[in-house]
Subunit: 333 residues, 2 copies
C-alpha cells in the first residue's frame, strides 16, 4: 500500500484556466489485485488538447469529471505486478497521468521499449506529438515536392517536429513562435524564416514577406490571426492541416472566425482537421521514419520540465502563455 | 455590318451592385475578317461568380475592365463566317456574353451539339453550373454511400443539380432555399427536407432538426450562417465542398468568419474550395453521367428568363436577392 498525490479538476475553467481550477488530493493505493499492476509514474505530459476536455460537452474524447483525477499520457515503472506479463521495474506507457501511483489491469498499460531513447521522448517526439506532426504534414497536408511550408507554434512539441520533417524532405519552412529563445531554436533546427509573432504588428504582412511566392502547406496549431494570415498567403491548391487552435481554447465567448475564409474558394484550398487517434494505424510507418531520422541525427527536440505533481497545473497553464520551448513535461520521480 | 448593344462596367460596385454600375453601349460590328466568324447571341448567362470579377484584384480570373463590355457564357448562332469550319446557322458556345453580336476568331468559339436539348441548357444543367455541381459533389466532397447531404442555395442552377445527383444516388438530402416557390421545386425534385432560411429564425436549429443524425456532406454556395450551421451539424469526417459564398460577395467590409471553425479539428472535417475550370478534364465523364440521367428523365431544371440585353444587369442583380429559381438567363434573340 502506497500513498499517491493526484490532480483533480476542482471547477471547470471559463476562459483562461487558473490554479484555482485544480486541486491536489492524496489517495491510498492498495496492493494490486490479481491481473493488476501498480505503476509509479516517472513522467507525465501536459498538452493543449486537455483544455477541451475540461469543458462539459460532447467531443472526440469525453470530458473530465469534476472531483476526479485528470487523465493524460504518462511513462511509469512497474512497482508491483500481479500479472505475469509485467514485472517490477518494467517501463510502461499509459493514459493514467496527473497522479503519482495507480493500479490498473495489466491490459490497460503498454510495455515501453525505448530503443535507447530517453523514456520521456515517448511523450513527445517519439510519441503522440511526433505522430501528430508526421500524420498532419505527410498524410493530411499531403506534402509534395516544392511545397513551401508554414508552421505555427513552430517551437512546440508538434510544430518543431513538423519543421524538421519538412526540412529533412528539403522544403522551405517558415515557422512562427513567440520570443527570441524559440526563434533561436527554430534557426538551430534549420527553419528558413522565423516570425516572432509577439514582436510582429501585422502577421499577414510578415508572412507575405517571409513567403514572397506564397505558401503551399500550412500546419495550423494556433488558429486566429495565424489562420487568417495563412489564407491570405496561400497559393492555389494549398493544403491546411488543422491540428489545433490554441489561440481559441480559452475564449470565453465565441471567437471571430477568419473573415477571409472565402479565399478557400477562389484559391481551391483544402482545410482539413484531424485527430491523431484516428491514425494510430500509421504508427509502424511513423516509427520507421522517425527511428531512421533519429539514428541519422536529423531530428532533435527540446523539453521544458516542471518537477513534482503539485506543479502539473502550473505546467499546463504555461502552455497557454507560450512559456514552453518544445515538449512541456512534468517529472514525477 | 451590324450594330450590337453591349453591357459595360461603368463603375466598380462597392457592396451590393446597382443598375448605376452598368451602362448599355451600341457598337458597330464590321464584317468578319478572314478566319473570323460573326456570332449573333441568342442566350447569355449571369452567374454569381461574375461579382468577383467586378473587383479590381488578382483572382483566378482577371477582373473586368471599366468601360469594357463584360464577359460570360453565351450561346449564339453564326451570322456570317469567314472560316471553313463554321457556317451560317451553326450554334456556338462562347465566353462572349453581355453583347448582342460580335466577331471572333473561329478558334475562340465552340460549335455546340445540343443532343436534342434546348441550347440554353448548356449554360445551366448541361454546362458549367451542371459540371460545378457534379465535380463538387462527387469529386471534391467525394460522396459515398450513406452520406447525408446538405445543400445551400439548393434551388439555384448549381444547387438543384447537386440535390438531384444526390437523390439519384439514393441519399438523404436537405436543401436550403428562400421562399415557398423554391421549396415547392425542391420537394418536386425529391429533396427530403427543405429549409426556408428566410422563414427560419435559427438556421442551426433548423438544420439539426432536419438532420438529427448529422450531415456528412455540405455543398456550400452561400457561406455565412449556412456554413456556421453546417459546421455545427457535421458528423465526424464530413466533407464540405466550398463552391461559393454568395452571402458575402457584396460585403463592403470584411464579413465575419465562422466562429465555430474550430469544430473542423475535433470532428476531422475537410473543407475544400474548388473552381470548376480546374476540372474541365472531367467533362467527358460528366457528360456521360448527365446525358444518361437526362435520357432516363431523372434530371429536371428550372430557368428564370429576362428578355433583352438591356435587362441583363437587372437579371444579374436578382441573383443576389435570390429572385431566380434555377438558372438565371437572358434571352437576347
Amino acid at each position: 500500500m502506497v500513498t499517491s498525490r493526484e490532480i483533480r479538476l476542482k471547477s471547470r475553467p471559463v476562459g483562461m484556466p487558473s490554479a484555482e481550477n485544480f486541486e491536489v488530493a492524496t489517495v491510498t493505493v492498495p496492493d494490486p489485485a490479481p491481473g493488476e499492476v501498480q505503476v509509479k509514474n516517472i513522467w507525465m505530459t501536459v498538452d493543449p488538447y486537455m483544455r477541451g476536455r475540461m469543458v462539459d460537452r460532447a467531443s472526440y474524447v469525453p470530458p473530465f469529471q469534476l472531483g476526479e483525477p485528470l487523465q493524460g499520457g504518462a511513462i511509469g515503472e512497474i512497482a508491483a505486478s500481479n500479472d505475469p506479463r509485467l514485472k517490477r521495474g518494467d517501463l510502461v506507457s499509459t493514459m493514467f497521468g496527473w497522479r503519482e501511483s495507480f493500479n490498473a489491469p495489466a491490459a490497460n498499460v503498454q510495455k515501453l521499449e525505448t530503443f535507447g531513447l530517453p523514456p520521456q521522448a515517448f511523450l513527445g517526439v517519439a510519441g503522440m506529438p511526433g505522430l501528430t506532426a508526421w500524420v498532419g504534414l505527410l498524410k493530411i497536408a499531403a506534402l509534395k515536392p516544392g511545397d513551401v511550408v508554414f508552421v505555427s507554434a513552430a517551437a512546440g512539441a508538434v510544430g518543431s517536429v513538423v519543421c524538421q520533417i519538412a526540412k529533412i524532405k528539403g522544403h522551405t519552412v517558415i515557422g512562427s513562435a513567440g520570443g527570441a529563445a524559440k526563434g533561436a531554436f527554430l534557426k538551430q533546427i534549420g527553419v528558413d524564416h522565423v516570425i516572432d509573432y509577439k514582436a510582429t504588428a501585422n502577421l499577414t504582412e510578415a508572412l507575405l514577406r517571409a513567403a514572397p511566392n506564397g505558401l503551399d502547406v500550412y500546419f495550423d496549431n494556433v488558429g486566429g490571426e495565424h489562420l487568417v494570415a495563412a489564407l491570405t498567403a496561400a497559393n492555389r491548391f494549398a493544403r491546411f492541416a488543422l491540428c489545433g487552435m490554441i489561440s481559441q481554447y480559452n475564449a470565453a465567448t465565441m471567437p471571430a472566425g477568419p473573415p477571409n475564409l472565402i479565399l478557400a474558394v477562389g484559391k481551391s484550398l483544402r482545410l482539413e482537421g484531424f485527430i491523431v487517434s484516428n491514425h494510430f494505424n500509421l504508427l509502424p510507418e511513423f516509427q520507421k521514419d522517425m527511428s531512421g531520422w533519429m539514428r541519422e541525427g536529423k531530428l532533435t527536440w527540446k523539453e521544458t520540465v516542471e518537477n513534482g505533481i503539485e506543479n502539473a497545473p502550473a505546467a499546463f497553464l504555461k502552455l497557454f502563455k507560450g512559456e514552453n520551448l518544445g515538449k512541456m513535461l512534468v517529472k514525477l520521480a
